[in-house]
């Protein structure tokens, strides 16, 4: 058993176990959720959160932290609901510009050797500012095709489940299994070593930020597909949610240790803890606190499993 349950496999397994536990609790509390319809409702908001968490994970992978992600997703949502809807060409250009801006941010952080936290903190104001200019009051409309995609009803398996699985697998293969992904992760583990092997750290940083920006854009688009319209603060909390989700999924703040599958599972788990609570029908005074308590419980469970593993 210990042969297979290495520290590494445990890192991926633990988040899955927490997810299973919380899902079981929800099924028990509200059997209606076990249906196609139920799962669809329960999970469709997981798609944008999962995408945002993946975006955050790419930044974590190079030992940085993105405090502007929520604002950035809000901005891309605003662009999607306005420009992309009204004048698709302009919208596509603007969204591409967003990805470029992220890449430029990566370059700036690398070249000037800046702490990512402050830079992204500053950028969060910039993103919100642009979003407010684009969409001073909530509104806009989701482009038809995005709406159609996000409300797709494939046979047998609900769309959100397919979507998050696809996201997890694609990123897993891209980052964890591909030859190029090795260099990207290596730059988080020991930048010096990667540089001495002849790779450009600048390129790595720029790539990682660009990919992160790309997933941020996807997240904003998916979000608008679900909400049908946007506002400048729509995804503000994605910053903390994405960090929490990635960490819950086994990523670490330094050392290039990340897990895309874990990140997606972490994001879904966070979403479900909220649902779990509404099924409990708590006293309103304690509803907020219960969110904290359940997060703590999920994480504590991780620790217990971890410990029993160590003992055996």
């Amino acid at each position: 058993m210990s042969r297979y349950l290495t520290a590494n496999t445990m890192r991926t397994l633990l988040p899955a176990l927490s997810l299973a536990a919380i899902l079981a609790a929800i099924f028990y509390l509200q059997p209606r959720t076990m249906s196609y319809f139920g799962l669809n409702l329960l999970l469709n908001l997981a798609v944008p959160i999962a995408l945002a968490t993946i975006a955050q994970m790419f930044i974590l992978c190079v030992n940085d932290l993105d405090l502007s992600l929520g604002a950035f997703v809000s901005l891309t949502a605003c662009i999607t609901a306005t420009w992309l809807y009204d004048t698709p060409v302009l919208g596509v250009l603007a969204l591409a510009g967003c990805v470029l801006a992220y890449a430029a941010l990566g370059a700036l952080i690398h070249l000037r050797n800046l702490p990512s936290i402050v830079v992204t903190l500053g950028m969060s104001f910039v993103w919100v500012g642009i979003a407010v200019l684009i969409l001073p009051t909530p509104g806009g409309k989701a482009p038809e095709w995005i709406r159609a995609l996000m409300t797709l009803k494939p046979a047998l398996i609900p769309f959100p489940i397919i979507a998050v699985v696809v996201i997890a697998i694609v990123v897993h293969f891209g980052l964890m299994k591909s030859a190029a992904g090795v260099v990207l992760r290596g730059a988080g583990g020991n930048p010096l070593s990667v540089e001495r092997a002849g790779w450009s750290l600048l390129k790595v940083k720029v790539t990682m930020y660009a990919i992160s920006g790309f997933f941020g854009v996807l997240s904003g688009m998916a979000l608008v597909g679900l909400t049908t319209s946007a506002d400048a603060n729509i995804a503000e909390r994605y910053t903390l949610l994405s960090i929490a989700g990635a960490i819950l999924g086994g990523s670490e703040f330094v050392g290039g240790r990340v897990s895309p599958i874990g990140a997606v599972i972490g994001a879904v788990t966070l979403l479900l803890t909220g649902s779990f609570l509404s099924f409990l029908r708590l006293n309103p005074d304690w509803q907020i606190g219960a969110q904290g308590a359940i997060l703590i419980l999920v994480l504590a469970m991780r620790m217990l499993i971890n410990r029993s593993d160590k003992r055996s």
Partner: protein, 308 residues
């Protein structure tokens, strides 16, 4: 020693240049008044940022996100218990400190016993504290005792009383950081926890004390802020979440851990206040104001960065 090598210099340079802009727009006397206002409000930023700075110094991943909830809970309970009575000032303060101690200890227990990463541990626990505050007083605003309000808003000449008190605290903390064993331990743990352990430093005790100190300072800040603004509100701390982090990092403390400085906190706190004030004064719309806020923060940081 070269001044440009001091990590805190950039925040101060930013502060001075922004003040010059304000003074040139609104005149010198308005500029002075703005400084007084900056000192009053910057004081609260500095108070929480001191605690946050020590936490951040403990190394990557260490950050306290429960500061706003801690401020809210402590001040809510204190205001209700004191119920405007001046005789209760001291008991109220002691309650605030006790709440800070409890919250710090609870945060640390989550981190160490349940091995939850600090960022999530403090985020989760903050929901609990906020809920407790809601349950305790349902958001009703109880007026602070008159004496507390007077102290919190009081001035000697143009200098706010509270700013003087926090300035003294800053100097004390400067010594704590650089000249005491506790401060040395924090810096050591932040740079290399394993090496610190093997150098005989009580790593976990250091981290415990740091988190507790941060919570106590946040609680005290809540107490005076409630006195300053006429009561505790459930959302009174919301702004302090990002602000405490911003002030710490703009002030030149390393997020990688192991380096900290106190002068930068004042520089950054004044900078953040003056920046918002300057943009308000310019009368720009919200969108441009936000964009400029961000752009100026990034610019200050980019200038202070070292080329690779």
């Amino acid at each position: 020693m070269n001044l440009t090598e001091k990590p805190w210099i950039w925040a101060w340079l930013g502060t001075v240049s922004i003040w010059l802009v304000i003074a040139s727009i609104s005149g010198l006397s308005a500029g002075t008044e703005v400084l007084t206002a900056a000192a009053s409000f910057g004081t609260f930023f500095v108070l929480v940022a001191i605690g946050q700075m020590f936490v951040v110094t403990l190394g990557p991943g260490n950050v306290d996100l429960s500061i706003p909830a801690c401020m809210t809970l402590a001040s809510t309970v204190a205001m209700k218990v004191m119920n405007g009575s001046e005789a209760m000032l001291i008991p109220g303060f002691l309650i605030v400190v006790a709440i800070g101690l409890t919250i710090g200890a609870f945060n640390f227990a989550l981190i160490i016993l349940l091995r939850i990463p600090p960022i999530i541990a403090t985020l989760s626990s903050s929901f609990l504290y906020l809920s407790t505050a809601i349950w305790y007083n349902r958001g009703l605003r109880v007026k602070p005792p008159e004496a507390l309000a007077e102290f919190a808003t009081g001035k000697i000449g143009v200098v706010p009383l509270l700013a003087i008190a926090v300035l003294i605290l800053t100097v004390l903390m400067h010594f704590v950081l650089h000249r005491t064993y506790f401060g040395r331990s924090i810096l050591a743990v932040g740079q290399n926890a394993k090496a610190a352990h093997l150098a005989g430093i009580p790593v976990e005790r250091t981290r415990f004390l740091t988190y507790v100190m941060c919570a106590v300072l946040a609680a005290i800040c809540g107490y005076f802020l409630a006195g300053f603004s006429g009561g505790a509100a459930l959302n009174m701390g919301e702004e302090y979440l990002l602000m405490s982090i911003a002030v710490v990092v703009i002030g030149g403390t390393s997020v990688a851990g192991g380096f900290a400085n106190l002068p930068g906190l004042w520089g950054a706190a004044l900078f953040m206040f003056l920046l918002v004030t300057m943009l308000n004064t310019l009368g720009l719309s919200a969108g441009y104001r936000l964009i400029l806020t961000g752009a100026i923060i990034v610019a200050v940081i980019a200038i202070s960065g070292k080329k690779r």
